[in-house]
């Protein structure tokens, strides 16, 4: 495989390149959700997706993530649906999207005269805008234009032996070829603080990485959410270090270039750790209530594609950026083939090496960046969730370049 692949993408006015051209319908409070769904219903099978924020109260984090998502390179246009009296700063969001060069419009349900009129206005705008965004300039892209994230969900005893190390191999290849890669879930790195901080590009970053894991350890302990359960030992895991390594090996062996928080977009090629645990006192419950909230945060930090490893068999995909489902367990794969892009379980059957599956992952990334759909895209999965959280900005030593 070489770096100069003839992949095609969409050039945005900010210079970033997308591999999808989604039209987003964004509800700015739960009260506007139904109208958004009804509008989207008329465009079933097209690249029209519904996302939103349910809360009526303002939250800086949700605001930042929503702004980042709506100006993501995979997004072509945005229709904002507001009830009218919620506190989301829709005017600033609209201006930000407009400044990014994308078609954008706001429909305020209370002002246009209720549900029916809002749906009609939305349909009309999308009919017109879809034609417009289909004319966005298509350009050649390289692996070095891509940002790739990874998470695991529905893990079992096979995850840490097959799919996760294979993602690590793929990550090493991507970083060597100039891509940006990111991994997360600092709560699953407890016991690895020293091992991980040795990979930091600078001594200052090493301290930041350690602090991020320690913050996660404190947070999870306070939430009463122990990391090592007796079930883990049944599956053959003996120590917390071993369990953490099973998830952490997705990051591969590249040096770590930075520590970011949701919404921070790295600009330089390399490997980044995303800190997903809220800062300050425990406020809004569990840091991430499900896999989708982790996927959304990675997309807010620019991810074009998410590598999702699963043993038991998750079916989720995502709005905005395609998800590659890498199944660790061959039995799960046989049972849930339609949902799985890659069968890493072949490693257990001695039909493939970890390296072979790493190559399959790269080939799948190239296929998706050439316009092919992932399994979850074919099946119409467009999960999205955005919650309340609290983050301080990252410190000056978190980015090494």
């Amino acid at each position: 495989m070489e770096n100069n692949l003839s992949l095609r993408g969409y050039l945005r006015k900010d210079g970033h390149k997308g591999i999808r051209n989604a039209l987003l319908i964004v509800y700015l409070v739960e009260c506007a959700h139904h109208v958004s769904k009804e509008i989207a219903f008329h465009f079933h099978g097209q690249e029209v997706q519904v996302i939103g924020f349910s809360g009526c109260y303002p939250n800086q984090y949700a605001d930042r993530v929503m702004n980042a998502i709506c100006t993501h390179p995979n997004v072509g246009a945005v229709l904002l649906i507001s009830l009218g009296c919620e506190s989301f700063n829709r005017k600033a969001l609209l201006e930000n999207i407009r400044d990014s060069g994308r078609p954008v419009n706001t429909i305020i349900i209370q002002e246009v005269g209720g549900t029916k009129k809002a749906i009609e206005a939305g349909k009309e705008w999308i009919n017109k805008t879809i034609v417009e965004i289909n004319n966005v300039e298509s350009v050649k892209i390289n692996l070095s234009d891509l940002i790739i994230g990874t998470i695991c969900g529905g893990s079992d005893a096979t995850s840490g032996i097959t799919a996760n190390p294979a993602v690590g191999h793929a990550f090493d290849f991507l970083v060597q070829n100039g891509a940006i890669c990111m991994f997360e879930e600092t709560g699953e790195m407890i016991g690895l603080e020293d091992i991980m901080s040795k990979r930091a590009k600078t001594p200052e970053l090493a301290i930041e990485l350690k602090n991020a894991v320690e913050k996660a350890a404190v947070y999870y302990t306070k939430m009463g959410h122990g990391s090592f359960s007796p079930g883990n030992a049944d599956g053959g895991l003996t120590t917390i270090e071993e369990k953490s390594m099973g998830a952490y090996c997705k990051s591969g062996n590249s040096p770590i270039s930075g520590l970011i928080k949701p919404g921070d977009r790295p600009n330089t090629s390399g490997l980044y750790l995303m800190d997903v645990v809220s800062d300050g006192d425990i406020k809004f419950g569990f840091p991430n209530i499900n896999d989708t909230s982790e996927i959304v945060e990675m997309i807010a930090s620019g991810c074009h594609i998410i590598l999702f490893t699963t043993g038991r068999g998750s079916v989720v995909g995502s709005a905005i950026s395609p998800v590659i489902k890498i199944c660790a367990n061959p039995e799960t794969y046989d049972r849930m083939k339609d949902d799985m892009d890659i069968n890493a379980g072949k490693i257990l059957q001695q039909k493939a090496t970890i390296d072979d599956i790493g190559h399959e992952i790269i080939e799948k990334i190239i296929a998706l960046a050439s316009g092919k759909k992932s399994c979850s895209e074919e099946l119409g999965h467009h999960e999205f969730i955005l919650n309340y959280k609290n983050f301080e900005p990252i410190g000056p030593s978190c980015l090494t370049i």
């Binding site: 005893a157 096979t158 840490g160 032996i161 190390p165 407890i190 016991g191 690895l192 091992i195 122990g226 090592f228 007796p230 030992a233 049944d234 599956g235 053959g236 895991l237 003996t238 120590t239 917390i240 270090e241 071993e242 390594m245 099973g246 952490y248 090996c249 490693i347 257990l348 059957q349 001695q350 970890i354």
Partner: protein, 99 residues
């Protein structure tokens, strides 16, 4: 079918990819090891002899230390290794019968 996989070249353990049954004879590091218990997928055996206090290496990094001498092919779990980070919490009645 081969039942073991080495995840990283520097590892001193092998991971079981197909369950080992009583009576299975498996070649490890040039010697044949016969098993007198079942060991499940995902568990570990020694790729070589490991002395007490030596680090157990998986994924190329230490995941704990041996608390007794371990011979090639031995099942490695809570009975012969420990975390170097925090003790592993388990329920009293677990890990009998080779589990």
């Amino acid at each position: 079918m081969n039942k073991l996989i080495k995840i990283h070249p520097n590892d001193n353990i092998l991971v079981i990819t197909n369950p080992i049954k009583v009576g299975d004879k498996v070649e490890i590091n040039g010697q044949f090891v016969t098993y007198n218990k079942n060991i499940e997928l995902g568990h570990k055996v020694a790729a070589k002899s490991i002395r007490k206090n030596e680090l157990i290496i998986k994924y190329g990094v230490p995941i704990g230390s041996a608390i007794i001498d371990i011979e090639t092919g031995d099942h490695i779990h809570l009975h012969n290794m420990k975390s170097n980070y925090i003790p592993t919490f388990i329920l009293d009645n677990q890990f009998e019968n080779g589990k």
